[in-house]
């Protein structure tokens, strides 16, 4: 098959969990990577080495362990900056996950500052967002009296941008959208929408949670002013996410969480704040998690994100082909693999997604069933939940075959075939 990562079997050996067998002796077929990715040994080992040999708090500590820990932590920031081609390492803020990164922006926009959102202002999102890029904006607009608007979706699962000039107007203060949908797989024309948003002076927030694992990311080319992603989906650990922002935008946001090293000076009466990125990193940061994330993006860069992307597209195309052979199966979202990400959600007529997932699980195949934190997108397509198979750089065509066979079996188990 064209486009697959060379040495795929060797790559799989990097991921200890892929050796696991599950109940009934089935080998693990992990097709839930859009939910969270598995971790290569090098990420785990790097974290262990940090905990066993270099653990200390950062920034504050002047001793040798402190210097080692700080150096490892800040080196991770450099690695992430280069992974997303950030013009400056200071523009990389470590958060706990993508959700916190998005909330950081939405939460601080409520407060006094040049970018403050208030009554009469509009925030524009889309109907295919993850809850983490919906609820923060609902909270912001409800709390400030601003208005939340959203792009709808076309029947084939694309953003409906036909009304873009009505949607993004001089009242628009923020446009926030996902780069790649975690449910439909759709890749959105982020740069194009950003262009329009910038014409009216709005800031553009990009949720790259599904993009960063799969696509080469160039934050400047993306058109984003602010961009979020999460460590655990890029073969890194949980407990860490990234908010990248243009310096001038981050500088204009008031502080989010207060305390720890986010200060310049503190008196009881008032405080002044450190510059970016520290201004947004209150308290002890996720140190060993940043170190793990650094190893993770190094691992990805070593494979080459172009190659990871090609692999993802090859596997996704193969999966779409295979799924098309299953009677009663309908894929939600675009059917052309070259225009989508690797998360494929579908319905199987006559079998509820939970039951599909359960039958697959009995064969060692891990998929996700439910609304995938995208209830509005499900509602848009008149479904309450779906089954989602999501591949990653370690996924093999044989695993897709297992999925397709498992779906056939689910149909027969529920007496549909």
């Amino acid at each position: 098959m064209d486009g697959l990562l060379p040495d795929l079997e060797l790559i799989r050996k990097d991921f200890p969990i892929l050796q696991r067998t599950l109940a009934g002796g089935h080998p693990l077929v992990y097709l839930d990577s859009a939910n969270t990715s598995q971790k290569p040994q090098v990420v785990i080992d790097t974290m262990v080495d940090h905990l066993e040999r270099h653990n200390a708090n950062v920034a504050r500590a002047m001793h040798q362990l402190g210097a080692e820990s700080s150096e490892a932590f800040e080196a991770a920031r450099d690695k992430v900056a280069s992974f997303i081609k950030a013009p400056s390492r200071d523009e990389v803020v470590f958060t706990k996950n993508a959700s916190e990164a998005l909330n950081l922006v939405a939460n601080t926009l409520a407060w006094k500052g040049p970018l403050q959102v208030g009554e009469g202002d509009e925030v524009v999102i889309t109907e295919m967002e993850h809850h983490s890029n919906i609820v923060p904006w609902q909270l912001l607009t409800e709390r400030t009296g601003a208005t939340l608007r959203w792009f709808g979706l076309t029947d084939d699962g694309h953003l409906d941008t036909s009304n873009i000039d009505d949607m993004i107007t001089e009242r628009t203060k923020v446009v926030s959208l996902t780069w790649v949908s975690n449910m439909l797989g759709t890749v959105n024309p982020v740069a194009e929408i950003a262009r329009r948003a910038h014409e009216v002076g709005a800031i553009v927030v990009v949720d790259a949670s599904q993009a960063a694992p799969q696509l080469p990311v160039d934050v400047v080319a993306s058109g984003a002013d602010l961009l979020a992603f999460t460590g655990h989906k890029v073969v890194g650990p949980t407990g860490i996410g990234v908010l990248w922002g243009k310096r001038e935008v981050l500088d204009q946001l008031p502080p989010f969480l207060g305390g720890g090293e986010m200060i310049e000076t503190v008196t009881m009466a008032r405080s002044t704040y450190a510059g970016i990125p520290h201004k947004f990193e209150a308290g002890t940061p996720p140190i060993v998690e940043a170190v793990g994330l650094g190893a993770a993006v190094d691992y990805l860069s070593h494979l080459g994100m172009e190659n990871v992307h090609a692999h993802e597209q090859a596997i996704t195309a193969y999966a779409l082909e295979g799924l098309a052979t299953v009677p009663g199966l309908t894929v939600l979202g675009p059917l052309d693999a070259t225009q989508r990400g690797g998360a494929v959600a579908f319905e199987l007529e006559g079998v509820h997604p939970h039951d599909v997932a359960q039958v697959l699980d009995s064969r060692g195949i891990a998929v996700r069933a439910g609304h995938h934190c995208a209830k509005p997108a499900h509602a848009r397509f008149g479904v309450q939940s779906s089954t989602r198979a999501s591949s990653y750089l370690y996924t093999t065509p044989a695993e897709i075959d297992a999925l397709v066979e498992g779906l056939e079996y689910a149909r027969s188990y529920f007496k549909l075939a």
């Binding site: 599950l22 109940a23 009934g24 509820h352 997604p353 939970h354 039951d355 359960q358 039958v359 699980d361 009995s362 069933a369 439910g370 609304h371 209830k375 499900h378 309450q384 939940s385 188990y413 529920f414």
Partner: protein, 155 residues
């Protein structure tokens, strides 16, 4: 994982042919419960009078386990005094939360014993409990109303 332990014939039968499905009048309380994790939903009404569960009607969206559980639940509680029905609820809850260690009591749970296997699938326990929790909530409201009504008529 042994699928047949989960999907007992009784469960699949109730799933294909749910008892007491649909929303009916009269009712004293209607609730809407959601399983936030998966999005399964149930709208459920109870009609209680004279301390007896006269009817339970529902509109459920969800998997085989949650649908079958709603069906079995209505079989078990309709026609029972509220106190007794609450007892059955307790028994079912204990079975579900028993991680497969609790021996089901067929006297009390009838078709409900088919859910014994579900208790070994932690992710599915919530599915089995969705309609039961909705029923308990609705009944508490209805009985509360009942009492209020009585007190008012007494006052």
């Amino acid at each position: 994982m042994d699928l047949d332990a989960l999907y007992q014939e009784i469960i699949l039968d109730h799933y294909k042919n749910p008892h007491h499905a649909g929303l009916r009048d009269p009712f004293e309380a209607e609730v809407h419960h959601v399983n936030p994790t998966c999005g399964d939903e149930v709208t459920l009404r109870v009609h209680v009078s004279d301390g007896v569960v006269q009817d339970v009607s529902y509109d459920a969206l969800g998997c085989s386990i949650s649908q079958a559980s709603a069906s079995v639940m209505t079989d078990l509680v309709i026609g029972k005094p509220v106190a007794e029905a609450m007892g059955i609820h307790e028994t079912f809850l204990a079975l579900m939360q028993g991680r497969g260690q609790v021996e089901p009591d067929e006297e009390v749970l009838e078709d409900g014993i088919a859910f014994a296997g579900v208790a070994r699938f932690p992710a599915r326990v919530k599915c089995a409990l969705l309609s039961w929790m909705a029923w308990k909530d609705a009944t508490a409201q209805a009985v509360g109303d009942d009492i209020t009504t009585k007190e008012t008529s007494n006052g």
